[in-house]
């Protein structure tokens, strides 16, 4: 036979699998172990107000996905309110409205964001002409002096902004600055003045609001910073520190000087903002990272499926493991089983019943089924009606065991319903034929062999690490396929043959 063909094929499959595997492990940082976690945050805005039997309109800025933070999920909880969303100069705004509302009203916005990159999101700045604010009198003179002074100390926009922020942060040294800022300036005021002065100098600038994402915070106060258009890109400036670097836990929320929430038609608005860190498996984090780095790989992987479907595949992908074990046990060890894949299917149902109960229930159903099958044998039924009768009896037996065990308070007994009844029926039929033709010993031996293989397959399939590996790295199944192909040409002795041919080893 052409064994080289087989070796080349197996090697190619293994190579492909390893390449994809290593790419996912070392580049995308998919977790090798099931329990590693990464961070994401839940943000909640609670807007409470009092309505007086009049139309109400509440608008709120909400965050949007950026290249730094991905918006994973969001909910709007607003009973009885109409709801619409729109984009307003680089921010997202939602508007809740109702024709008539009275009493205390509470609206919620919840979102989950996850960090996908450290760098501040790149936002393109359109070349727009800047309209000067039009300072007058003393302010005019102060602004002109300040601009001229900073120009003399700076080379480009970056150094201009840095110098301006430095002066705005120490108003006592410069009279024109303190005049522009007014008394007791806060951060918002400093940013506003900076934007005005930059506008006078012909540099586009705007204010950005966001929140700091920290472990757990109630009543978060939004932070504001400055964005300056520079070479077609908006660059962030921390107005308080006067630097062009922003901590990377700043989540960009909305742009412009408007407040987070504006309310019309009602009163007593109370806005509360909360941030909470949620530990999530590193897997979704890595998948998220992958989606941004190599969109194709993740979009066409199992992680792109809905959660319920993912759960199905977590189980289905274990079947190859069981099948491989079966190949080893049958072709290398030489265990006899009823039906080729019956033990793997039984092992799948053991996942629900647990091992001990699974074996008990299986033995119970097959044992009772066999008794009925032997009785039916006297009636000399045709094959297909006989199989159907056994199937019906199996279903009834399963129902009976469920009811009985429920009455006895044995919860596990209920899971008997998860046994594949067709497989059980065929097992009973095969077993009864072997029983009749080769004796009870052979039938019981094969029955125990099948159960032992099923138990082994169950034990292998319930190793968390393996389950995690095949689900996150399904390409590893190619290695399993390669090994199975190689086993397909295994021509050595089976372990049971060492016993079978023991007479041949004696002289």
């Amino acid at each position: 036979m052409n064994k080289r063909h087989l070796y080349v094929l197996s090697a190619a499959l293994t190579l492909i699998a390893l390449m994809v595997f290593f790419f996912k492990v070392f580049v995308l940082h998919f977790p090798l172990l099931p329990d590693t976690t990464s961070d994401s945050w839940e943000i909640e805005v609670r807007a409470a107000f009092r309505a007086y039997n009049a139309p109400v309109k509440l608008s709120m800025y909400v965050p949007r996905s950026t290249s730094q933070y991905a918006l994973i999920d969001e909910n709007f909880i607003s009973k009885g309110y109409g709801f619409s969303a729109k984009n307003v100069n680089g921010s997202r705004k939602v508007i809740w409205s109702t024709r008539r509302a009275s009493g205390n009203q509470v609206l919620y916005y919840r979102a989950i964001v996850r960090r996908v990159a450290d760098a501040y999101p790149v936002v393109k700045a359109e070349a727009e002409p800047v309209t000067p604010v039009g300072y007058e009198g003393a302010h005019r003179a102060a602004a002109d002096t300040l601009i001229a002074d900073i120009r003399a100390h700076s080379a480009d926009i970056d150094s201009f902004v840095t110098e301006l922020l430095k002066r705005l942060n120490s108003p006592e040294k410069d009279e024109s600055v303190s005049l522009l800022l007014g008394r007791k300036p806060d951060n918002e005021r400093r940013i506003a003045v900076a934007i005005d002065v930059l506008a006078e100098a012909g540099i586009p600038a705007r204010v950005v609001h966001g929140v700091r994402l920290q472990e757990l915070q109630r009543d978060v106060v939004p932070v504001a910073w400055l964005e300056v258009a520079e070479k077609g890109v908006w660059r962030p400036y921390d107005a308080a520190k006067g630097t062009g670097k922003l901590p990377d836990d700043y989540l960009t929320w909305w742009r412009g000087s408007e407040p987070l929430v504006t309310l019309k038609g009602a009163r007593d608005l109370k806005t509360r903002l909360a941030v909470r860190l949620i530990k999530e498996s590193a897997l979704s984090g890595a998948a998220m990272r992958g989606r941004f780095m190599t969109p194709g790989l993740i979009d066409f992987s199992l992680l792109s499926l809905p959660i319920e479907t993912q759960a199905v595949y977590q189980v289905l992908l274990l079947v190859p493991l069981g099948a491989f074990l079966l190949v080893v046990l049958r072709n290398i060890v030489g265990v006899k089983t009823f039906g080729t894949f019956m033990p793997v299917l039984i092992a799948l149902s053991f996942r629900e019943t647990q091992l001990l109960w699974g074996i008990i229930l299986f033995a119970l159903v097959v044992g009772l089924g066999l008794t009925v099958r032997f009785y039916l044998d006297q009636l000399k039924l045709l094959l297909v009606p006989r199989l159907a009768s056994v199937l019906i009896v199996v279903v009834l037996l399963m129902a009976m065991i469920s009811v009985l065990s429920f009455k006895l308070g044995i919860e596990r007994g209920l899971s008997v319903a998860l046994f594949p009844m067709i497989i059980m029926t065929m097992t009973i039929e095969r077993m009864s034929i072997v029983w009749e033709e080769r004796g009870a010993a052979e039938a019981i031996e094969q029955g125990i062999g099948s159960l032992a293989v099923a138990a082994a397959a169950y034990l292998v399939m319930s190793i968390d690490f393996l389950r995690h590996l095949v689900f996150v790295f399904p390409e590893l199944l190619l290695i399993l396929l390669a090994s199975t192909l190689l086993l397909g040409r295994y021509s050595g002795y089976r372990l049971t043959e060492l016993v079978r041919f023991r007479a041949m080893t004696r002289e």
Partner: protein, 322 residues
Amino acid sequence: MFDRIRKLREAGVLGINRRNADYTLVYNPRRLYPLVDDKLQTKRLALEAGMAVPELYGVISHEYEIKRLPEMLAPHASFVVKPAHGSGGNGIVVITGRMRKMYRKAGGLLLSPDELAYHVSNTLSGLYSLGGYPDQAIIEYRVQFDPVFEAISYQGVPDIRIIVFLGVPVLAMVRLPTRASEGKANLHQGALGVGVDIATGRTLTAVWGNDTIDEHPDTGNPVNDVAVPGWDDLLRLASRCCELTALGYQGVDIVLDRERGPLILEINARPGLNIQIANRTGLLHRLHAVERHHRELRDVEARVAFAKAHFSHGDRVPAAPA
């Protein structure tokens, strides 16, 4: 364990994995299987080639034909009912005589006409066929076996299994029914397998289950050193089966009828491996020898001569000619 593997390898014992991977899968093309899996086809082929087979009394292919069973059986005192696609001897019923309306099975048990009809019906549904497909029931001549095996078989029909590789008989054994096998000659049903020296046609030690024994478990007579009559003819017959089916690796089952001589019972495309224990000889060395030389062996005579020359039991592990 590794010591045992080494010993088995030295003895040239063929394991089931190697039999499948290196012999049946390689030398037996799948398309030829129907020829031997369907015993009706094998029978027809053998008849066309002028080889003797047990006479066919009738075939039942459909459920409604079962009504005709008594009528079909009426002229025959003894007969055998077997599935056309059976395997491993399953589903074979040997009727040796009658007792009023009842049929007497080889084991002595009585079978009512209804029970026999039910058995035929099961056979038609595919209960005994490979893969469970609908099947046909064959009713044929019950072999009156040669008296040479009288003392060493318990009821039933002893047969001779010869493994033929590329037309060369490599290993042979006589299968003797026992009480445990209910008159059937299949080893896993409890029949006794006795190795036969290819060179001389005399029996060697016997295997029962997976163990070697020297006496028949029911009759107590020694089973070794019995000469199989017409051995050379048997070898020629087996060798011709290679052309008959075109299978490279096959097990030919032959019975010796008292009056009609050797009859081909069936041909097996996946013959069992216990024949090695019965002969205390591994198959591998012989198979390798045939692989090296089969091109020089042009006809049946040359192949039989080669087998007799090289597969003698004088030396336990035959020195394969280089």
